[in-house]
């Protein structure tokens, strides 16, 4: 009886097209892919085309110049600085993010008093609109009214008349930009880690306990492997948020002092949109795309391998 019923069900399932893996997958994926292809694919191809023309001032076309724009960009010292900065900002800020967010997320799983409030404070930076919260940082790092400098002056740590300029010294300005990037992405990573921790099935936890895995050992052999796919994705998004973001630099330093904190995105904006050399701006903004693609593909591969293992 039972066997017959089961066979019946199987047969019914076969007739239903939604039971076919291929078909169902296609139906589920198609809307998202179509949407993205139309909205990003088209414009991206156009941007690639623009980078090989001498288009100016917002006009979506121009004479074909091949790779001239890329060559011209490469020869510009400000571009190389921007390229270096983009890599620097991304790598350093993401290293800080991973370390801090890992610690925070781990600590937040402990049932301690006031945890809800602490979590609220930690989430705040992610809730604030970046353009506006960067304005907040602009005020904190202000050339004259900086609260950081005010405290440092009271403690006689810095020159009263000529204190450090957080946005006016190349090294400090780099640190300032990195700090804002890290600041806004840490909560994001914390939340992803927390969600990842939360979705570890309790059976695994119990099994770990039975096997006597605790503390670091448990973290290394149980928690970490289960977390890796999600952590990789979090890192990948952190990289993308930093490398393709323009807002922080645009609002905080405008690339200053003397164009020492430009990123590719901001430099592309100043050259291509403000300065009007659209083709060259497109080349600048697309310059890092191949590298990002390689990094992304490698990381995605890695995430999948970990999962399979």
């Amino acid at each position: 009886m039972v066997a017959v019923a089961a066979r019946d069900k199987t047969r019914r399932r076969r007739r239903n097209p939604f039971e076919g893996r291929r078909f169902l997958a296609t139906v589920l994926i198609a809307p998202a892919v179509t949407f993205i292809a139309v909205l990003v694919g088209g414009p991206l191809l156009l941007a690639i085309y623009l980078s090989m023309t001498d288009a100016v001032g917002g006009t979506l076309g121009g004479d074909w110049v091949g790779l001239d724009n890329f060559r011209a960009a490469w020869e510009d010292p400000n571009f190389r600085r921007a390229l270096r900065n983009t890599l620097l900002f991304t790598i350093v800020s993401q290293a800080i993010v991973l370390l801090c967010a890992g610690l925070i997320a781990h600590a937040l799983t402990k049932p301690i008093r006031g945890r809800w409030f602490l979590r609220f404070l930690i989430i705040l930076p992610w809730a604030a609109p970046v353009p506006l919260s960067t304005i907040g940082w602009l005020w904190i790092y202000d050339s004259l009214f900086s609260v950081v400098n005010w405290v440092a002056k009271q403690l006689h740590l810095v020159d009263q008349f000529n204190p450090p300029q957080w946005l006016g010294d190349p090294t400090l300005a780099l640190a300032a930009v990195i700090s804002v990037h890290a600041w806004r992405i840490i909560p994001f990573a914390v939340v992803i880690f927390l969600a990842g921790l939360a979705s570890i099935p309790s059976e695994v936890e119990d099994a770990a306990k039975v096997d006597g895995a605790v503390g670091l050992r448990k973290f290394w052999y149980v928690t970490l492997p289960l977390q890796l796919p999600i952590a990789t994705v979090a890192l990948l998004f952190g990289i993308v948020f930093t490398a393709t973001d323009m807002t922080v630099v645009y609002i905080l330093t405008q690339g200053g002092p003397f164009n020492s904190t430009q990123m590719l995105t901001s430099w592309a904006y100043f050259v291509g949109i403000r300065g009007g050399s659209l083709g060259e701006g497109a080349a600048v903004s697309l310059f890092l795309l191949p590298l990002l693609v390689i990094v992304a593909v490698l990381m995605l591969r890695f995430a999948r391998k970990v999962e399979v293992a």
Binding site: N16, F18, E19, L24, A25, T26, L28, I29, P31, A32, V33, F35, I36, L39, V40, G42, L60, C100, L103, H106, L108, R115, W116, L118, F120, L121, I122, I123, L124, P125, A127, P129, P131, S133, I135, G136, W139, F145, V147, W183, V191, L194, A195, A198, S199, I200, P201, S202, P229, V233, A243, T244, M246, T265, A268, G281, S285, A296, V297, R304
Partner: protein, 284 residues
């Protein structure tokens, strides 16, 4: 129960981080109640009020003399609409990519992610063409309409959410689904009844992040919308509170705090939803 040492370690980690991460907001709050005279006086102690401070006039200026509340409302509406669209597109796609499709699907998934790498710096120009020639909305398409943002924002929330959700779906043990299928449930039913409930943390994460990505946008809102009552927070605030070379710092701070605090509270409540399960020992 956890040991005292563990508790202490947790506090020692969380305390300093919370202070550093939240300090800018403390400072914004403080600044938002200051008068011009107080703010620009270098003799005054910035941690105290003086010269007519504290004052609520920055808040009343923001609310009564600008269309701030409209911008907040616009941002919220766009955010909600985008979150909905994102879920509708990303949840099925992510599940299919994680579970159903073979090699082709995997490459497709990578492809979806890669679109995310395109910097919006210049992409907004071709997109501006797209929205202005959109077949509905009149002669200028969706230009200067909130709908332009509803259309464009999913272009970066969907890839993001798809990938995030894929990660979550992959952590669900296949055995759970297989058990359901052996019991005779159809694939769709398995997805709805078994997979979705387990994925609530992931879905909530996506809601939070999609919404905040919308709130964080600057370039698109700037390029697409100039009509005052259709603006979102960032562009509206920048128009009214940065006038030539004068920054209305206090009102800018107020404008940042007003949406941030409720949003952080809301996100935190969402987090409760799955962290509660976690501390209970099991999440179902």
């Amino acid at each position: 129960m956890i040991s005292f040492r563990e508790k202490l370690t947790a506090y020692l980690i969380l305390g300093p981080f919370a202070i550093v991460l939240a300090f800018p907001f403390y400072w914004m709050l403080w600044t938002s109640f200051k008068t011009e005279q107080d703010l620009y006086n270098v003799e005054n102690v910035p941690f105290l009020f003086g010269s007519g401070s504290p004052t609520a006039k920055n808040y009343s200026f923001l609310i009564h003399e600008t269309q701030y509340l409209t911008w907040v409302k616009n941002t919220a509406l766009v955010g909600l609409a985008v979150v909905l669209i994102t879920l509708v597109l990303a949840v099925p796609a992510a599940y299919a990519l994680a579970r159903l499709s073979g090699r082709v699907g995997q490459s497709l998934g990578v492809g979806i992610f890669l679109t995310y790498l395109v910097p919006p710096t210049l992409l907004f120009l071709p997109l501006s063409y797209v929205i202005s020639h959109f077949p509905i909305g009149g002669r200028a398409g969706l230009q200067d309409s909130l709908w332009s943002l509803v259309l464009v924002f999913p272009s970066f929330t969907v890839p993001f959410s798809t990938w995030l959700l894929m990660g979550f779906f992959k952590t669900i043990p296949r055995e759970l689904e297989e058990a359901a299928r052996v019991d005779g449930a159809s694939r769709l039913r398995t997805i709805v009844q078994i997979v979705f409930p387990i994925s609530v943390p992931g879905i909530l994460t996506v809601v939070i992040f999609s919404f905040s990505l919308v709130v964080n946008d600057f370039v698109y809102a700037l390029a697409f919308i100039t009509t005052s009552h259709e603006k979102t927070i960032s562009t509206g605030v920048f128009t009214e509170l940065i006038r030539g070379d004068i920054f209305f710092w206090q009102a800018l701070m107020a404008a940042t705090l007003i949406p941030s605090i409720p949003l952080a509270l809301l996100y935190n409540v969402f987090l409760d939803r799955f962290i509660a399960g976690f501390t209970g020992g099991a999440f179902r």
